[in-house]
């Protein structure tokens, strides 16, 4: 007998008819194969549906593959950084043929950090950092391609003046963290000799500090929040074209397929969409990662080649996506029975139950709140990290589970209104499943984005408070090594001549320990000792540091209020003996340098200038203490400027400072890195939310168009009796807008709730960024409009009289 499922014997040997279609793995395979065939043999329309599923799943898979690449990206990034730096060297090697003098010369240009390193080989075989063939000589530099481009730009005159070296080469990719990194390696000259130290190899000796609780919190949350909408979206995408599939299953029932068979066939069809989606996802990922090089986020820019999914995680995606597609399809089939004469939707007569839907977010909330007693535990214990992730995930999942109940409960209470409203409300009352599924993704994404945003806003508020004061003052604070007081005076004289500079002050400072105190050594061999800060400057400079009254060269002062310094060096008083070569660090070089604070030293009140360093514990004029006697003295320069006089004042000061000493570090917050970082996060979150909204929008368009096609005849009838197109258009808008509005309301509530819980458990004050919430809500409204607008052309097409033709 030939059946739908192939040829099988008409009866048993005894002549009895068979009991039913064959079961077991063979039947499974045969039905799955048949479903797979349906996915690709449905003509143009069938291909369109399969392609839509594949594209939808593919977008989700591409995002998952990107997430799977995070560990390898970070490894590669840290590996590159580790290979080219020399931090953590405990002992300075002796000069040899194989050593190099090395110094940092970082600078900033229009807010962009430029990493600079200075090198001077001690011999013919110095170590060379990766990406560089030979070390540049004095007056030479090698640059990254991005810096080469920046230097060539017309607006980079100040940078060209600053990096006044001859470019003799380009740093190769293996010497860069990312293709957009601005970095250079230049020959070390005498200006930075005081900053330099000797190294014998490149390659960091230790790994970075373990992440802070905040970072772990944010990373875990970001992963959960960003990936959940993707998973929800994949769940939606595998059901694209579901109504048509169900109609076909009904036809199969008519020719003898039983219900388990139809479910297996549906699963087979879903697997094809998922597998094609995996292929599409790989393609999207490979194409999309080429753009990664152009993106800099949180100061991180990576090479596309470094974006490689972790094999284990990628394999998990390859297995889980098809498996999930089958599960989602089978789950969807639970509420649908394909009967020979059509599809019967087993609509629940009873209302959706609230109990378990509430249980999910409440369990999540409980898990999160249980961490409140010790947020730092998140860092120390993976169990707590899992608890955090699970708590956030359950809370967000709960939001998705609550949405259908909310939509049903609210829509059931809606009455009256104009015709388009009535049509939309009635439609939602009858079947709002597709809209709810799509909107569920929006809800998770928006709730997550709001929560992350709240956490960032709060952390940023803390940074902003710290930077606000100094950022408001037009002052640049610089610090760098010096050998004597003359260098500081020369630097000040040069800076005062720079255009836009209104004033400049500077002192030399160093540490001092109580004489005879050898301190203590920790198990790693690091020696610590109590220290005080000694500041040397002429009377004019010291007057800026403290209320010293009369002063002449040779005077010494001891400050009484030392600001908010945590360890108040109470040992500093007139007459005390100090050691100007404090025994600190892994290695103590040179003998003690005793110096006595004169008995005549006057106690004075220190002045703390906002945004500047503390005045120091001992203030001495050069006549009393020569800067040359200090161990590792640094010059501390403070430069005031006026942008009204010179728009490029900041860049000019940086250029002058660099030319004085490339090793001078800028300590002030002209370009608050946290601001830029926050802006980056804000932009990224916003973009992420908008991309997810657009993805969901694409899903909504597909389900709307599918619904329209299903109702083609009805639309033609509506057109026949004169229904305005606008009426049906508005009803489409309401039909999308009502679930989206409810989803957003739920998302904002859940997002603020999640954010508040997270901030509370990290002991921070809660800050809300209304603009961002409004922006995300506005984007969602935009997506609703976009979905409606894009659904209108097919709507107009389907309102044509063709649908009335029955022949």
């Amino acid at each position: 007998m030939t059946t739908l499922l192939g040829t099988r014997p008409t009866g048993s040997r005894s002549g009895r008819p068979p009991h039913g279609p064959p079961g077991g793995p063979a039947a499974w395979l045969r039905d799955l194969a048949m479903g797979a065939r349906f996915a690709v043999t449905g003509g143009r329309e069938g291909w369109f549906r399969t392609a839509l599923s594949a594209i939808g799943v593919g977008i989700g898979v591409a995002v998952l593959l990107l997430a799977c690449s995070a560990p390898t990206v970070l490894d590669a990034w840290h590996g590159r950084e580790k290979a080219r730096e020399n931090l953590g060297q405990l002992h300075e090697p002796r000069a040899s043929d194989r050593t190099v003098r090395y110094a940092q010369a970082d600078t900033t240009f229009h807010g962009e950090p430029v990493r600079g390193r200075l090198v001077r080989p001690d011999g013919a075989h110095p170590p060379v950092p990766p990406g560089i063939k030979r070390l540049p000589g004095p007056g030479e530099m090698v640059v990254s391609p991005a810096l080469r481009e920046l230097l060539a730009e017309p607006g980079s005159a100040q940078l060209r003046a600053r990096l006044d070296y001859k470019v003799v080469g380009t740093i190769g990719d293996n010497g860069l963290l990312g293709p957009r990194e601005l970095t250079f390696v230049a020959g070390l000259d005498d200006r930075s000799a005081g900053e330099a130290y000797r190294i014998s190899r490149f390659g960091k000796l230790f790994d970075p500090q373990p992440p802070s609780a905040r970072l772990v919190l944010l990373t875990v949350l970001a992963c959960v929040v960003l990936l959940m909408p993707v998973v929800v979206f994949i769940g939606t995408a595998v059901r694209f074209g579901g109504d048509r599939r169900e109609a076909r299953l009904a036809a199969l029932r008519l020719v003898g397929a039983d219900i388990p068979t139809t479910r297996r066939i549906a699963a087979g069809e879903a697997v094809v969409g998922a597998v094609l989606g995996l292929a599409a996802g790989l393609l999207f990922f490979l194409t999309g990662r080429q753009a990664v090089g152009a993106v800099t986020l949180w100061g991180v820019n990576v090479f596309p080649a470094d974006v490689v999914p972790s094999p284990g995680l990628a394999a998990l995606v390859a297995v889980l996506v098809p498996a999930a597609s089958v599960l989602v399809t089978l789950f969807a089939q639970r509420s649908v029975t394909a009967e020979p004469l059509g599809v019967v939707r087993n609509r629940p007569v009873a209302r959706r139950r609230l109990g378990w839907r509430l249980a999910l977010p409440l369990t999540g909330l409980t898990l999160l709140l249980s961490l409140a007693w010790d947020p730092q535990a998140v860092v120390d214990d993976w169990f707590h990290v899992v608890r955090l992730a699970l708590g956030a995930a359950l809370l967000l999942l709960g939001v998705t589970a609550l949405l259908p109940w909310l939509v049903e409960a609210v829509v059931a209470r809606l009455r009256g209104g104009p015709v388009p409203w009535q049509l939309a409300v009635r439609r939602l009352q009858l079947n709002s499943g597709a809209a709810q599924r799509a909107v569920g993704g929006i809800t998770v994404a928006v709730a997550g984005a709001i929560a992350i945003h709240m956490v960032f806003t709060t952390y940023q508020a803390g940074y902003a408070q710290a930077y606000e004061e100094s950022a408001r003052r037009p002052v640049i604070q610089l610090s760098g090594g010096t050998s004597d007081g003359q260098g500081t005076r020369d630097a000040l004289a040069t800076l005062r001549r720079a255009p836009g500079v209104t004033w400049a002050h500077g002192t030399v400072r160093a540490s001092a320990a109580p004489a005879g105190d050898r301190g203590t050594r920790d198990p790693d061999g690091y020696r610590s000792v109590r220290t005080a800060m000694v500041t040397v400057g002429d009377c004019a400079e010291l007057r800026r540091k403290a209320r010293i009254g009369s002063c002449r060269d040779g005077d010494v002062f001891v400050t009484e209020n030392r600001g908010d310094r945590a360890t108040d060096p109470a040992f500093v008083r007139p007459g005390v003996r100090l050691n100007l070569n404090p025994p600190e660090g892994y290695e103590v070089t040179g003998p003690p340098r005793p110096w006595t604070v004169p008995d005549s030293a006057r106690r004075v009140q220190g002045i703390r200038h906002p945004g500047e360093d503390l005045p120091g514990d001992v203030l001495a004029t050069p006549g009393a203490l020569s800067p040359a006697r200090l161990q590792d003295p640094t010059m501390e320069l403070v430069v005031g400027y006026d942008k009204a006089r010179e728009a490029e004042a900041v860049e000019r000061i940086r250029t002058v400072a660099f030319r004085v000493n490339p090793g001078l570090r800028e300590l002030s917050a002209i370009d608050n890195p946290h601001d830029r970082q926050y802006d980056g996060v804000r932009t990224a979150l916003f973009l992420g939310a908008v991309i997810v909204l657009l993805l969901i929008g694409a899903g909504l368009i597909v389900s709307t168009v599918e619904q329209l096609r299903e109702r083609r005849r009805l639309l033609s009838v509506l057109d026949a009796f004169g229904t305005r197109r606008a009426t049906v258009g508005w009803s489409l808008l309401w039909q999308t807008a009502i679930p989206v509005a409810l989803g957003l309301a739920l998302a904002v509530t859940a997002g603020i709730g999640l954010g508040t819980v997270l901030l509370t458990l990290s002991g921070a004050e809660v800050h809300l960024d209304g603009a961002v919430i409004a922006g995300i809500a506005g984007s969602a409204a935009g997506v609703v409009l976009l979905v409606t607008l894009l659904s209108l052309p097919p709507l107009w097409r389907m309102m044509r009289p063709d649908g009335l033709r029955t022949e």
Binding site: V419, R426, V717, P801, L804, E807
Partner: protein, 228 residues
């Protein structure tokens, strides 16, 4: 009104779909209160004739005059408005909005025409009673039988007091008993309201309810017979 007293008249109507000719110079007219049955085999062009006469489809050439106005040159919006105000429609199946109750379905054309909801639903209730389906007013189309649904469709078509009622195979999906009941109610109600009825059918049994029969064959109106 046209010079011959007809309320609606089509003349020399041509319409092709791709390479297939649906109407090939068809002529037609109907007078107020007259029930005209448009007969013919499947694919003969009956429905296309109805669509052209109702202003749903614009013919490739020819003229359709309704109440002295040329329909073929009217913009789409005006033709839609005319269909809302002056015409009523009954189709074979799939015409009721599944989400709306039967009452709301009947009130729909009135509401689209600007009538307030309560007034529209009051009128709809009257028509449901007249078509003997008042008891199902709160049910959705999916919850009623085919015959009841078709009566609701007739009530909807007549609720706006149309001057011309177009019915395309209105009983095609019904058994003979239900079909006859629907046709009786439809033609009686139309005659009461002096509405002209264009009744497309391929069943002589249905055509028997008309005042006049015409037959469409190969896109042309071949003959015209007096009604029974």
């Amino acid at each position: 009104m046209t010079p011959d007293g007809s309320i609606l008249a089509g003349e020399g109507l041509y319409k092709t779909y791709g390479h297939t000719s649906a109407l090939d110079g068809a002529d037609f007219s109907v007078h107020p209160g007259e029930v005209v049955a448009v007969m013919g085999p499947s694919g003969s062009g009956k429905s296309t004739l109805l669509h052209c006469l109702a202003g749903i489809v614009r013919p490739d050439s020819g003229s359709v005059r309704y109440d002295g106005r040329e329909l073929t040159t009217l913009p789409d919006a005006e033709r839609s408005a005319l269909r809302r105000t002056d015409f009523g429609f009954v189709f074979q199946f799939g015409q009721l909005v599944p989400e709306l109750t039967c009452l709301e379905n009947v009130a729909l054309p009135l509401r689209l025409n600007g009538t307030k909801r309560k007034a529209a639903e009051a009128t709809a209730r009257e028509w449901l009673a007249r078509l003997e389906v008042d008891d199902i007013h709160g049910k959705r189309p999916g919850e009623v039988s085919g015959g009841q649904g078709q009566r609701v469709a007739v009530a909807r078509a007549l609720a706006g007091r149309p001057r011309v009622l177009f019915a395309d195979e209105p009983t095609g999906a019904l058994d003979s008993l239900n079909g006859e009941r629907v046709l009786t109610l439809l033609t009686d109600a139309a005659r009461d309201t002096r509405a002209a009825v264009v009744l497309v059918t391929h069943e002589p049994r249905v055509a028997a309810y008309s005042d006049r029969e015409i037959t469409v064959r190969d896109g042309r109106v071949r003959e015209s017979l007096a009604g029974l």
